[in-house]
């Protein structure tokens, strides 16, 4: 189960929360749980990458503005 390329951070995060609440419920099988954990790890990696990109973009953009003004 691969993470979709069209996925955005908010959707990924919402899915993560859904997985967490699913996992916390008692209605999932061992196999389902294993799949959800794997999915959650992919989502977390996606979100972390996204966060890092956003941070880099913000820094680059703000530093660029600084250079223009000074």
């Amino acid at each position: 189960m691969k993470v979709s390329k069209n996925l955005n951070f908010d959707a990924a995060y919402a899915e993560l929360q859904k997985i967490l609440s699913d996992l916390q419920s008692e209605q999932v099988s061992m196999e389902q749980m294993r799949e959800k954990v794997i999915k959650s790890n992919e989502l977390i990696k996606f979100c972390k990458d996204k966060l890092r990109n956003i941070s880099d973009e913000i820094n680059a953009s703000l530093n660029h503005e600084d250079a223009d003004l000074n």
């Binding site: 993560l16 996992l23 061992m30 749980m33 790890n41 977390i44 979100c47 941070s55 820094n59 703000l62």
Partner: protein, 418 residues
């Protein structure tokens, strides 16, 4: 009728001639006034009279003659002033031989003439004229008229043959400043009995034309008796009536004529008049140039002032703009670092959330539970729970870290420790 003793007219006249000849053997000096004067074939024929005062009736009259020889020597003595000295109205002192001719009657033969008497009489007459004209305010009238600052249209009263006229016109035309003049000559006799009436007539003609800046009355130098022609009160009166300023250059160094006294400005010679006119125009031009210079310098000062204030305004504008830009840049930088900070904090928050989710999931993940020794029991593919309670003899599937155990339920009870 014929008894009365008588003599013939000839006898009578011959007798009178002898009486006269006997009593007037020598020539005598007499004073009289010329009533008329005419020349014929080199001889001069005069009527001389005497009046107790200028306006009184004639009390004595005689015919006089100056024979050619005497006339020539008198002319020589008068030195060119004969026309003025021997005109009607002049009082003269002459040496006469009293002659009586049987046919032509009494005749005074003039042999000599004393010019100084005429001049003296003229001086008295002149003083009388000046007194009279002064009392009537006539001498001041033309002086009250303003002379235009620029004189260009000039009415000249002069004799076309006068040397002074040529000098005057040439000097005007050759003026070093290149001023243009429009002069009209109004010809008039400048000496003799006709001078006064002709000058007056031309002044009236000029007045009727009207478009002149000044009237100039000029003639070349003349004698003292000549000058007397311009003492005639009529000229002064005509000048006083003029609405145009009159400049005279009648050409006498010592004395001023009555016309000079009545004129707005009297100058010695025609060239002095032209110099005066040129000088006046030059002064006006200089004043105009001076004013122009003043305007130019005021304007350039004003311009400089505005240029300077423009510079100041520009400087201020630049300063304000630079200030504004600097302040805005500062604010933006501040904003930028705030955004940077806030986004960093935000990102960290997200990061933390992700980490805690990851941790939670890791804890929940079955592998980690099993590793820690817990087992996981399912019935029919679902975890055993309060919602999924197995019954005795049901087949259970249990997961441990190492094994998957299938068993049959023999007994089930509630976990009392919970």
């Amino acid at each position: 009728m014929f008894n009365n003793p008588s003599i013939s007219l000839y006898n009578l006249n011959e007798y009178i001639r002898r009486v006269v000849a006997l009593n007037f053997q020598d020539s005598i000096w007499i004073s009289c006034e010329i009533a008329s004067f005419r020349e014929s074939r080199g001889h001069a024929y005069l009527e001389v009279i005497e009046k107790p005062s200028p306006d009184a009736d004639i009390i004595a009259q005689a015919s006089a003659v100056i024979w050619r020889t005497q006339l020539n020597s008198i002319y020589k003595k008068l030195g060119g002033e004969q026309e003025s000295a021997l005109q009607p109205g002049r009082e003269i002192l002459v040496k006469v031989k009293v002659d009586f001719n049987e046919r032509y009657g009494l005749k005074l033969i003039i042999e000599d003439m004393d010019l100084s008497f005429t001049i003296g009489k003229l001086a008295l007459q002149r003083a009388e004229t000046i007194r009279d004209l002064t009392a009537k305010g006539i001498l001041l009238k033309n002086k009250m008229l303003p002379i235009p600052n620029v004189i260009q249209r000039i009415a000249i009263i002069s004799s076309p043959t006068a040397a002074g006229l040529q000098d005057f016109v040439r000097q005007l035309e050759d003026n070093p400043y290149g001023y243009a003049f429009k002069s009209n000559l109004f010809p008039s006799a400048m000496q003799g009995a006709s001078a006064a009436p002709e000058v007056c007539a031309q002044m009236e003609e000029i007045a009727s034309r009207g478009d002149f800046d000044v009237i100039v009355i000029i003639r070349g130098g003349g004698g003292k008796v000549d000058l007397a022609d311009f003492d005639h009160p009529n000229i002064a009166i005509q000048i006083s009536k003029s609405k145009i300023p009159v400049l005279t250059g009648i050409g006498h160094d010592i004395d001023e004529s009555v016309a000079d006294l009545a004129a707005c400005r009297s100058l010695k010679t025609p060239t002095a008049v032209s110099e005066f006119i040129i000088q006046r125009n030059m002064e006006f031009e200089a004043a105009v140039l001076f004013t122009y210079q003043k305007i130019v310098s005021s304007v350039s000062q004003l311009l400089q002032f505005h240029v300077n204030s423009m510079d100041v305004i520009q400087q201020n504008l630049r300063w304000v703009l630079e200030n504004r830009i600097r302040n805005t840049a500062q604010a933006l930088n501040q904003l930028s670092s705030q955004i940077k900070y806030i986004s960093k904090v935000g990102l960290e928050k997200w990061s933390t959330k992700l980490s805690s989710i990851q941790e939670l999931i890791a804890q929940i993940a079955p592998d980690s539970q099993l590793k820690r020794g817990f087992s996981w029991t399912e019935i029919n593919g679902r975890r055993v729970s309060a919602q999924n309670i197995p019954r005795v003899k049901d087949e259970l599937t249990s997961f441990t870290n190492e094994f998957v155990i299938t068993s049959v339920l023999t007994k089930i009870a509630k976990n009392e420790s919970k």
